[in-house]
């Protein structure tokens, strides 16, 4: 066993070639750090999972927000205003109201739907034809459906105020209201996501710092010897910086992986609900660039956490 180990090391030594560049030295340190991670698999994987879950929480909120944004984009183009007309208004009067509305610059189109037509459409789409036919009178009002020429909330509100003053109109309904609410919800989620990200990243600094502190404690004797023969703090810190960097990269990658699993599970169970709405909507994952930036965030946090901790604790180890 020992012989094998020795032979391996011998091999390594002879491979450390003729023209070693700083890059190769860094590669060697990075490999050493990776080996140390593998040598303590349990504590390493625990640290990695903690980093992954911490990064995942705010990232999921940002992901949710992206999905909301895409829904909003899709529906913003179909903002509609429905004018429900008073029951006393006749069909020809209703048609006239609708035609008059077209002169308003803020209105792109206006379609009159008579009470009879509304009932026909409803009985077709709902499948409640028999029930509706048995009613003695038509419960549905006549309506004018308007597509505004603008998406601007202020202009739409002004338009709806104008529409309310028309005497034939019973009440109006803004279809864009729920879009506004969704948009406000999306802003809120974004703010919560940012706050959570700030909290989580602060926490990660402590977690990584503590992990680095422990491994510095474990290598105390080695650090003392290196200091005695003239090793600088940066020389001693380098392997620990690589450890932090590796933790961060692996944590970020695991977070991306977990996100994919969550996506698959959610899309599976959402499918039924979505079919009820006759939509082909699908939750979207982080995508390549967001996944990459999650891994890069992990790497930066890992490296910086290790940087802050290693200089502090290495300074405290004296021969």
């Amino acid at each position: 066993m020992n012989k094998v180990k020795t032979a391996n090391r011998q091999n390594q030594a002879s491979h450390r070639g003729n023209d070693v560049s700083p890059l190769q030295i860094h590669r060697k340190i990075a490999l050493d750090s990776a080996k140390r991670l593998i040598l303590s698999p349990l504590s390493s994987s625990m640290t990695i999972v903690v980093i992954a879950v911490s990064l995942l929480l705010p990232a999921l909120l940002f992901g949710l927000n992206e999905n909301l944004q895409s829904i909003l984009l899709e529906f913003q183009n179909s903002a509609r205003i429905t004018l429900f007309l008073d029951n006393s208004v006749s069909e020809s009067q209703g048609q006239k109201v609708s035609d008059n509305l077209l002169t308003d610059n803020a209105i792109q189109s206006a379609t009159y739907v008579s009470a009879t037509k509304a009932l026909e459409e409803f009985s077709l789409s709902s499948g409640l034809g028999e029930v509706l036919r048995s009613l003695s009178s038509n419960p549905l009002p006549a309506a004018v459906i308007i597509t505004p020429a603008t998406l601007n909330t202020g202009e739409i509100n002004a338009l709806s105020q104008r529409l309310e003053t028309i005497s034939e109109v019973d009440f109006i309904q803004l279809d864009s209201q729920w879009i506004n609410r969704l948009s406000a919800l999306s802003d809120l989620i974004s703010i919560i996501g940012q706050l959570l990200a700030a909290i989580v990243i602060t926490g990660l600094f402590f977690i990584i710092g503590n992990t680095i502190k422990l491994s510095i404690e474990n290598r105390r004797q080695e650090i003392q010897v290196i200091k005695l023969v003239g090793g600088t703090d940066i020389y001693i810190a380098r392997p620990f910086l690589y450890t932090g960097l590796l933790f961060g990269i692996l944590g970020g990658s695991v977070a991306v992986f977990l996100q994919l699993i969550i996506l698959m599970v959610l899309n599976g169970s959402l499918q039924e609900l979505i079919q009820l709405y006759n939509s082909n909507f699908e939750l979207r994952g982080f995508g390549f660039f967001n996944s990459l930036s999650l891994v890069i965030t992990g790497a930066l946090v890992g490296w910086l956490g290790a940087f802050l901790a290693s200089f502090r604790y290495i300074r405290g180890v004296n021969p």
Binding site: T6, A13, G17, V20, Q224, I226, K227, L228, T232, P319
Partner: protein, 224 residues
């Protein structure tokens, strides 16, 4: 190379480890420091290595006043000094070769050159054949010699040694002294802390005798 003037060291608990030490070691000079344990030998070496700070007086090493040495300068100061420690201070998870390589690795030495120097240093202490072995598999004397190889591999201008022959039999001790003399002859200054009086007597070098942190005797060459 080492200039010591009215040097004193008082530890935090008020104990005086060294008081009024004055001596000078020039280029290519070798001196012994003797005294019972606790006489201040180790403290003296620690001060020269900038592990401890002097409480008073001047300590000038390689032209650097250690009172004015900043934290950042300490590693570079230590690189110019080869130190042989009483407890070897070898890294147990590295081979003999890698242990001796350490000072060169730290100062970013070109690898091929470094390998040659490591082999030369190991050859000098007679351990070339054991370069692939881990220190735990070596005897105390061999570990001590690895420590010596590591101390000289950087070709320092000063070598400090704390009981370098403590674990060695008389033959090996004489060998180690021969290695030291070789370095002395090429201009290295050596300060060797030792209580091996029988060995010191066979050699004709200056002996600084410490007692309770004071210099009680400074015997020059020839007047044993």
């Amino acid at each position: 190379m080492i200039k010591i003037n009215k040097l004193s060291k008082r530890y935090g608990d008020g104990q005086d480890a060294l008081t009024d030490i004055n001596f000078e070691i020039g280029k290519g000079e070798m001196s012994f420091v003797t005294g019972h344990s606790g006489a201040g030998k180790s403290t003296l070496l620690k001060l020269i290595l900038a592990i401890e700070k002097p409480s008073g007086g001047d300590l000038i090493v390689n032209g650097l006043n250690l009172n004015k040495l900043s934290r950042r300068e300490i590693p570079y100061h230590r690189r110019k000094i080869g130190t042989v420690f009483q407890d070897h201070q070898l890294l147990t998870d590295r081979t003999v070769f890698e242990n001796v390589l350490l000072p060169l690795e730290i100062s970013g030495f070109p690898v091929e050159d470094a390998k040659r120097r490591v082999r030369a240093a190991l050859d000098k202490v007679g351990l070339l054949k054991k370069e692939k072995i881990f220190p735990a598999a070596l005897s105390g004397g061999e570990q001590q010699r690895v420590g010596i190889a590591r101390a000289v591999v950087n070709r320092p201008s000063i070598i400090l040694a704390d009981e370098p022959t403590g674990n060695l039999d008389p033959n090996l001790s004489a060998e180690v002294m021969k290695v030291f003399e070789q370095f002395k002859n090429v201009g290295v200054s050596l300060l060797v802390a030792s209580h091996d009086t029988s060995l010191i007597k066979t050699l004709n070098y200056r002996v600084i005798h410490l007692d309770h942190g004071r210099m009680v005797n400074d015997i020059g060459i020839g007047n044993e």
